[in-house]
């Protein structure tokens, strides 16, 4: 156990001198209040690696009679062969719904749901996940199914068809919600040429065969291709023995998956307009950024906090929503994963203030350099991040899955502490330096979903080339 002392604002609480009812004049301003320092132990899960390469993070939690397991799997749509977009999603879904060697999908549904347990699998663009949650008394039932789902899925053809039809229906509905359109198109444009930009179509989904899925599963699901997080009401030793029994004889692969390829840093300073007749325009703007392991990542988090990721504290919220009422939802997000993430800002504003709002957001983002953060702004951002650090550790399950995720992302096990220290060490000049290097408002791609007939000004007035992007139907 390691102790963490909070970066407290002030010193010790004055002993509880009882005040009479506090009339307003006697109200102390919160900035003058003093609090006891917060000492808390950082719980440390244990790490085990089975001979077949399966990595397990484990920690007991006896508060409630529940057990959870979650797995991060090194796979994703990024590994799909061209023309087979949708294979990862379909495989991930039918691993669970299509039954196992021992039980049909329906039998699994009944068995798990009778005891209010769940076992789920899914594969997304950049990673796969599997999870199970049971009452302690039903662990055997749940885990047997969970292990089978991972190792011996049946891929029942009827279930494949069911899921395929659901996916086709979802493809039809892709343009129903403006938010779905803008986030999807932003991703496709920003990651153009990279697997993260790919998207399934009705054609590609219809082309998927059972053999494709069996192969995808076979190629991707191996013990040395995943990291497990296990927490709950059990005895550690017994649980490890059980896990070993259920997963220890799972053969490792000689060729564990590679992570997604790094994205070359390019910019596309263009406005993409997607027409949809809605009373509110949906905007997403930005460009590529850095991966999570980049040395500038911490200072960028501070920058993001000041710019737009910390709600009402942030400049974007303040200017666009709080001062001018132009939006309910507005902000920014500088994220990174194993590969480059993006530097992104978003908003939704009524049609008639589309141009005004985009222009304002760009000004705010340019303002990070022109009107640098003050010492106070810096301190507010740092205190916000540091003093809420304790919330990374509010449940055993959270702690364990966090650690597992760090390993999955190839980050050092003490990354969270490094993060906290990196934030604490950030100075104004660091924020400025990373802004200069990684934030380029003038080079942002701006994706706009809305009704140009009602815009306050034409988008070309933003000074960037405007390209009309059709609303695809993904046939």
């Amino acid at each position: 156990m390691r102790k963490i002392t909070e970066f407290a604002l002030l010193a010790v609480l004055a002993a509880g001198g009882v005040q009479a009812q506090a009339p307003e004049a006697n109200l102390v301003h919160p900035s003058k209040m003093v609090f006891e320092p917060l000492d808390f132990d950082l719980p440390e899960p244990e790490r085990h690696e089975l001979p077949n390469g399966l990595v397990i993070y484990i920690m007991e939690d006896r508060e409630l009679p529940l057990i959870s397991i979650s797995a991060s799997i090194r796979t994703g749509a990024y590994l799909e062969p061209e023309g087979k977009e949708g294979l990862a999603e379909l495989t991930g879904a039918v691993m669970r719904t299509g039954g196992t060697e021992a039980l049909s999908g329906d039998e699994i549904d009944e068995k798990l749901e009778f005891v209010a347990a769940s076992a789920e699998t899914a594969i997304g663009i950049s990673e796969g996940s599997a999870s199970m949650s049971v009452l302690e008394k039903d662990f055997e039932t749940g885990f047997t199914i969970f292990a089978d789902v991972l190792r011996r899925p049946r891929f029942d053809p009827r279930q494949i068809e069911l899921r395929r039809n659901q996916m086709l229906e979802a493809i039809k509905r892709r343009n129903d919600q403006p938010g779905d359109i803008v986030s999807r198109e932003y991703r496709r444009i920003t990651y153009k040429g990279h697997p993260y930009a790919r998207i399934s179509t009705a054609t590609s989904v219809k082309s998927l065969t059972r053999d494709d899925m069996v192969k995808f599963h076979k190629d991707n699901f191996h013990p040395n291709n995943m990291v497990l997080a296990v927490s709950g009401d059990f005895d550690r030793k017994e649980m490890l023995a059980r896990l070993e029994k259920g997963l220890g004889d799972w053969e490792k692969t000689a060729t564990p998956n590679a992570d997604p390829a790094e994205v070359p840093l390019t910019y596309d300073p263009t406005v993409y307009l997607i027409q949809k007749e809605i009373p509110q325009t949906n905007v997403r703007m930005g460009h590529l950024g850095v991966a999570k392991g980049h040395p500038d990542y911490f200072a960028l988090q501070v920058l993001d906090n000041i710019m737009g990721s910390n709600g009402f504290i942030s400049r974007l919220m303040r200017e666009v929503r709080s001062n001018r009422g132009l939006a309910y939802s507005v902000g920014s997000s500088i994220q990174g994963g194993r590969v480059r993430g993006t530097v992104m800002a978003y908003t939704q504003t009524k049609v008639e203030s589309t141009h005004e709002t985009i222009r304002l957001m760009k000004e705010v983002m340019e303002g990070l350099e022109k009107n640098p953060p003050s010492e106070k702004e810096l301190q507010v951002a740092k205190d916000s991040i540091l003093n809420s650090f304790v919330f990374q550790f509010t449940s055993v399950e959270q702690v364990v899955s966090q650690k597992a995720n760090l390993e999955f992302q190839h980050l050092p096990p003490d990354w969270l502490e490094k993060y906290r220290d990196g934030i604490a060490a950030t100075k104004v000049e660091d924020v400025l330096r990373v802004a200069r290097e990684h934030l380029h408002p003038e080079k942002m791609t701006v994706v706009v979903v809305g009704n140009p007939a009602k815009f306050d000004k034409e988008l070309k007035e933003l000074g960037l080339p405007v390209v009309e992007r059709p609303l695809e139907t993904f046939d």
Partner: protein
């Protein structure tokens, strides 16, 4: 809501319903301490020392159901305004600021009045300029979003609020050593809030409405559904307000609403986490004790009359079809409400649930199905409903037929013991899972204390559920799943203007007809 997150209307309403929190008897009994101040303010205190944090959930027993025509959206706008500060927070000089604010209020009220009554355009323009000038005058006094900042730098997370039909709720989580900070701020927000920056915030609400409803087809569908199912009772109205109401909400009326309803004896607050009860009771008494209690107004008196026949509406949107059907039902603590919790789980919880099995797995006419209970509110008689995502517009009729057939089954077949047991297990496990977070516990405890009058509703829920006989499910189905009691809302894709002429002839045949009687 004050800040994030963005969610679909369906999810948002699911949260507004209140989680169907069932329980294992004795889970919480003995651990929750109720402390009521002299002024009636009720605190539920639950010590939980798993992490050095605190979860706070404060519920005012007032929601949009307490509004009336023309002021729809008041409770929600008030909630937004409660973030703008107090006499001592959010301002550099309240005495000077309030003079300017009073002028802003007059100008704003006058401007609204002129716009509403079709006043002189030049006069309106002048007033708009005056108002803007006054707002600029007020700016230097403002310490922007100071409460947000204070909480943030003190490690607060999840600082937010929600308004639904029945309640207005304020929540935050803080490190455990900030209890007094919370007391200082929240008591001040109750005693001396200042509704500064009112007019720009009203604009924000308009944007919120656009985001949740006007630019969201599903949000629109649900709004239309409830407005159709409820004609007389205030559940007819959307919590966020109709756009024309939002545009004209009067600051005076919002302040009046606050004065009337934000009384300490109208508040329930749950606090869960790492604290020592005697220490915090002293703080709560000190900070919240001085707030004077008030007489509360009568609750709304209009009762929704029995529906006289099926209601069907079509909602055309630039979106793919959705099918929604609902029925009126009693609210808690009526035993029928418990029965509907069972029906809700039976029909839609999981892949082995009845609707999923039939419509998605077997008949393949829907991509997804769901049911909901206690919509749009919990305090008064509300509705139970089902929805389906049809696999194409040509499957809408089939979805309706199958959903209604499943409801009919409940009238004619007794639910087998095994299936009932599954439902009970699900409800109990759901409760158990909700116990592992301070904020989740605070949310649930405060919710049931506020709407059911006793947080023990959670503890007793599963006991009651276990006593329900299959015959009771049958009775409830027969009584409430009737065509007379039914409202159907169907979302259809708007025809593109170019195709209009060729599809008019087809319109009558493609519009779904009446379902099973």
């Amino acid at each position: 809501m004050h800040g994030d997150p963005i969610r679909s209307a369906l999810l948002a309403l699911a949260l507004a319903l209140g989680p169907a929190i069932p329980l294992q008897a004795g889970r919480l009994e003995g651990k929750v301490k109720t402390h009521v101040l002299k002024n009636g303010m009720t605190f539920l205190l639950l010590e939980r020392k798993v992490s050095p944090t605190l979860g706070f959930y404060m519920r005012f027993k007032v929601g949009s159901v307490d509004e009336h025509a023309g002021i729809g959206g008041t409770a929600h706008l008030l909630e937004h305004m409660l973030f703008k500060g107090t006499h001592t927070l959010g301002t550099k000089d309240w005495e000077a600021e309030k003079v300017v604010l009073a002028k802003i209020d007059s100008a704003g009220e006058e401007l609204d009045r002129l716009k509403l009554t079709g006043g002189d355009a030049a006069k309106i323009k002048q007033l708009e300029e005056d108002l803007k000038k006054l707002q600029d005058e007020a700016k230097p006094f403002v310490v922007k979003d100071e409460i947000d900042e204070i909480y943030s730098i003190n490690g607060g997370v999840g600082f937010n609020a929600t308004t639904d039909q029945d309640l207005t709720s304020y929540m935050i989580s803080l490190p455990k050593n900030r209890f007094e900070l919370w007391s200082r701020i929240e008591s001040d927000r109750m005693l001396h809030p200042v509704l500064r920056e009112y007019y720009s915030e009203r604009d924000v609400i308009e944007e919120e409405r656009r985001m949740r409803v006007d630019a969201d087809p599903e949000g629109t569908l649900f709004e239309q559904f409830q407005a159709t199912a409820f004609q007389a009772h205030n559940y007819h109205n959307p919590t966020i307000g109709w756009m024309s109401e939002i545009e004209r909400l009067s600051k005076q009326k919002v302040e009046e609403f606050r004065r009337v309803y934000y009384a300490p004896n109208n508040v329930v607050c749950a606090i869960v986490g790492d604290f020592d009860t005697p220490v915090v009771i002293e703080l709560l008494e000190r900070y919240f004790g001085p707030i004077p209690s008030q007489d509360l107004p009568r609750p709304p008196t209009v009762i929704e009359p029995d529906q006289l026949g099926e209601r069907r509406i079509i909602v055309k949107q630039d979106s793919n079809p959705l099918y929604l059907v609902g029925f009126h039902k009693p609210c808690l603590p009526d035993r029928a409400d418990y029965v509907f919790d069972v029906i809700n789980t039976l029909l839609s919880s999981g892949r082995s649930s009845r609707l999923y099995k039939r419509l998605v797995k077997e008949e393949r006419i829907a991509a997804a199905t769901d049911t909901f209970s206690s919509f749009p509110g919990t305090r008064y008689p509300n509705s139970f409903g089902a929805m389906a995502v049809p696999m194409g517009a040509d499957k809408i009729d089939a979805c309706e037929k199958s959903i209604l057939a499943e409801l009919d089954r409940l009238k004619t077949e007794l639910v087998p013991a095994q299936e009932f047991e599954k439902v009970v297990n699900k409800l109990e496990a759901g409760f158990l899972r909700s116990l592992d977070s301070n904020s989740g516990l605070a949310e649930n405890l405060s919710y049931f204390q506020a709407v059911a009058g006793d947080w023990r509703y959670i503890d007793q829920h599963s006991e009651v559920i276990r006593t329900i006989k299959p015959e009771e499910i049958q009775e409830a189905a027969k009584k409430y799943f009737t065509d007379k009691n039914r409202t159907v809302a169907i979302m259809l894709k708007e025809e593109a203007p170019a195709a209009a002429t060729s599809s008019t002839a087809a319109t009558t045949t493609t519009t779904p007809g009446g379902g099973a009687q």
